[in-house]
């Protein structure tokens, strides 16, 4: 019934949707609706992104010239620490699963909600609590350890008072992440409707599932690690600090045992989004569904076995370095498979160069660079030179920002009409995407050159020979920021002045495009019909509605089957 409504040209959304279902601030703060929780996550994550982005811009501005430019060394150290810690723990890790994932996962699956709606809300409030502790850490004197919290600097070396607070924040945020992951795993196992077999699930769900496994299995380790760190700093109990009988390299093992899989907690959902975007916006069946699905699982498994590649110069034994280098290269294979399968999906497609697709194509370009430069860092002989230089900074920004966040922004544009019921300006969308793409490359490609020339990371001051690269990088960051500010402007404008979105503006086949935009409170009035979610031949364009609907010459419509 719902979908029949959606196929009719409707200037105003008919009746009830999740935004109008109940009203008042409490109906949001106490909601158990996965869509509203997703929206609350989205607003919170984007706010954190804004804050940490400002910190990043301040870091770049300080580095526009050698010596002191705008802040002193201690302030600079606080800024890059907060930029990293907020971006990782408050933005990228929860970005795709907890915001977009929360919104679309149950609808894509054909379910009314996640398996544990209360746990879902609790997980959001844990995120908020973690954020409050992070703000508390700033108020208590800040943190200057870098987001890696390496000991003994973080336990006995720094005089800044925020370390224990920020460790508590990470601990709490970890539980938020664990609960989200567990909720999604159970939802995918238990709430698939009839017809939604594992191999009919959209690849985004496979990616979220693989991510959930990582969240549940890896995150407890960071919780234990920061707890031990706090105990050592507060009570002087020797675990990591050699002057107390501890081992600082042990901390690095613990830290990366989580933080390497965390890289995949960030990138796997992004890859899932790209699989959807590339297929839907080229109206072409995804190429090699099973290879992509299994490569997500393969990446999840391999990612547990490669943490030591962050520690090639840490003084861990050479034999371990060799083993970790070897296993590291195994992660390259499933990543390469995905890229080639996406390219093959484009082949003979009907490629729409709209904003979400431009972000998806940017992802291919940027992940190409981010992934391939991983080869330089996984290789022992070259990593010794490149480790802890700007080459590493550039590499992980290409992966975490150029890939994970760009995919998230692409997904946001893809699902924006569904979430808000409004269309944004395509013109400004493409302009902003172009600015972000160009600005990003100017900012971070320059840093590969800086790094291979030997510029160490986390430097407040630098030798004059590096100046020109820093100037270029900083200018690039301003261009990128301009792109993001334009994005914020037209997205906010669309909420009030945007054209009403049809149910299916892009011609997507997965189930979320079968309900209205925005979806009703219960997602589906009747059990939706599950078909091949990448078969676009059953849809046709409706000029009046400016969207797609089921072909009239076909026997039955989705939802009736």
């Amino acid at each position: 019934m719902t979908t029949i409504e959606a196929t009719k040209p409707i200037p105003e959304p008919a009746g009830d949707n999740y935004l109008t279902h109940t009203t008042g601030i409490m109906s949001w703060l106490g909601t158990l609706d996965h869509k509203r929780i997703g929206i609350m996550y989205l607003v919170s994550v984007l706010t954190s992104f804004f804050v940490a982005g400002i910190f990043g811009l301040l870091v770049r501005t300080e580095l526009i010239a050698p010596g002191q430019t705008i802040v002193d060394a201690d302030t600079y150290n606080r800024l890059f620490t907060l930029h990293g810690a907020i971006m990782v723990f408050l933005v990228i890790i929860p970005s795709v699963p907890a915001s977009l994932g929360n919104f679309v996962l149950p609808i894509m699956l054909g379910a009314k909600d996640v398996a544990f709606p209360r746990l879902n809300l609790f997980s959001y409030y844990l995120w908020v609590t973690g954020a409050v502790f992070a703000v508390g850490a700033i108020l208590m004197g800040g943190v200057d350890t870098g987001w890696t919290f390496y000991v003994p600097y973080s336990t006995t070396g720094t005089a800044m008072g925020g370390v224990v607070m920020v460790a508590t924040a990470v601990f709490i945020l970890g539980f938020s992440s664990i609960f989200t992951g567990m909720n999604f795993i159970v939802t995918i196992h238990r709430l698939r409707p009839p017809g939604m077999t594992w191999f009919r699930m959209p690849l985004f769900l496979w990616a979220i599932y693989a991510t959930g496994i990582l969240q549940v299995m890896a995150t407890p380790v960071i919780g234990i690690t920061v707890a031990l760190l706090a105990v050592e700093r507060s009570f002087g109990i020797g675990i990591f600090d050699p002057s107390l009988g501890g081992d600082p390299v042990l901390f690095q093992h613990f830290f990366w045992f989580y933080s390497h899989p965390a890289v995949y907690i960030m990138i796997l959902p992004a890859m899932g989004i790209i699989s959807e975007l590339i297929s839907v916006h080229s109206h072409k069946h995804i190429f090699g569904y099973k290879f992509i699905a299994f490569s997500s699982v393969a990446i999840a498994i391999f990612s547990f076995l490669v943490w030591g590649h962050h520690m090639f110069v840490s003084s861990q034994s050479p034999l371990m370095n060799v083993i970790f280098s070897a296993i590291t290269f195994s992660v390259a294979i499933p990543s390469a498979v995905k890229v080639f399968n996406w390219l093959a999906t484009l082949y003979k497609g009907s490629i729409s160069l709209n904003t979400p697709m431009l972000y998806a194509l940017s992802f291919l370009f940027l992940f190409g660079i981010g992934g391939l430069t991983g080869l330089h860092l996984g290789t022992l002989a070259t990593d010794i030179h490149l480790h802890d230089t700007y080459f590493v900074v550039a590499h992980f920004h290409y992966v975490m920002m150029g890939s994970a966040l760009i995919a998230m922004i692409g997904g946001l544009h893809h699902w924006w009409p569904k979430m808000t019921g409004r269309m944004y300006s395509e013109f400004w969308g493409r302009i902003a995407c172009g600015l972000v793409f160009v600005g990003f490359n100017v900012t971070f490609f320059t840093q590969f050159v800086l790094g291979s020339k030997g510029m160490p990371r986390r430097y407040w001051d630098y030798l004059p020979e590096f100046t020109v690269y820093h100037v270029v990088s900083t200018i690039g960051s301003y261009v990128m920021a301009l792109g993001f500010f334009i994005t914020a402007a037209y997205l906010i404008h669309s909420l009030f002045g945007g054209r009403r979105a049809p149910a299916n503006p892009w011609g997507g086949r997965s189930l979320e495009w079968q309900c209205t935009s925005p979806p009703p409170h219960d997602n589906f009035a009747t059990q939706p019909h599950v078909g091949d979610c990448y078969d676009f031949s059953v849809l046709e364009w409706d000029e009046q509605e400016q969207g797609y609907h089921w072909r009239h010459d076909l026997a039955h419509e989705p939802g009736e089957g």
Binding site: G146, Y150, P242, H283, F291, S325, G349, L361, L364, K453
Partner: protein, 365 residues
Amino acid sequence: MTFDLCLPAILATAGQRPGSIFGMPEQASTIAGPIDLIYDIITWISLFFFVLIVVLMVYFMIKYRRTSHVANTGGLTHHTPLEVTWTVIPLILVIVIFYVGLKGYVHLTTPPENAYEIKATGQRWFWTFNYPNGATETNILHVPKDWPVKITMRSDDVLHALFIPAFRVKQDVVPGKKTHLWFEATRTGEFDLFCAEYCGTQHSLMIGKTIVYDQDEFEAVIDDLARWIDQVPDDKLHLAGALSYNQCLSCHTLDGSQMIGPSFKETYDLFKSGGTRTLADGSRVTVNEEYLRKSILQPLGEIAADSATGAAYPSSMPTGIGTQLGPRKVESMVQFIMRLDEVAPDGKLLEVKKEDIVVKPSESE
């Protein structure tokens, strides 16, 4: 220990090549050429795949761009032989890359038996290098050309990392254990030396120089380094202190401005006036010669409080300075502070040259 990846041609040109075309710095060690070769091989492979991906992507974007809303029908949904192909080809390539990287790494971690050994200490925020003949130098690493050098490193506080880009070597310095790196310099000259592991406020100022000499000259340099302080007459010892001040300057200023530790100017003024200094625990101590000596040898014994705010200074002064410097250099530092008005009038350090204050044995007789 062979390293058959070092093609003779590379070895022959190592030292003259300006580094890789992909942005590596100048090459000044035997390993730099082979590592740049590996770097170039990986970069070429990466470039090939990157160009392949982008060219295909852009070609498809143009060729298959949407021209009408007619739904797309069909197209290949999978092709197993093709997918196996693009799984296996990258697999073979990464095995090759791993192998060449391994060969280079084995070379990097295997110092020759006859290597010349130098001890290095990383402390916030300077490097100290100790030579077998007793010579000590701060932030400058003197090494011979064409002779393998092994650096044994330790830290007295937090993690640091010794990084010499021109040699392509880097190793973390870890408190509680000894770590090593080795290289064989191929060119004379000065090369940058960095701390690469974040260590706090002045991390980016924990930098220095590596100076490579011909072997004869190197012998003379470290010989002089070991003995010059003994050749400074007592009445010029405060000037010798000026030459050791570079390891104090990241925390102690000469002009009275506050940094991580009390300014030497403030300490000097207290010494001159016979005044007392308030300590972190509230007690007061007279600033005399004995206090100055004790503060260098046992820096964590009496932590001073900031005269303006009353807050304690951080307990971050390295404890090993006394041993590294030796008694006479410690004495020179004590004299340096006691006669600060002569060495640094108005907070500006005099330019002191070693040869001006050293009296060679023959001259004194």
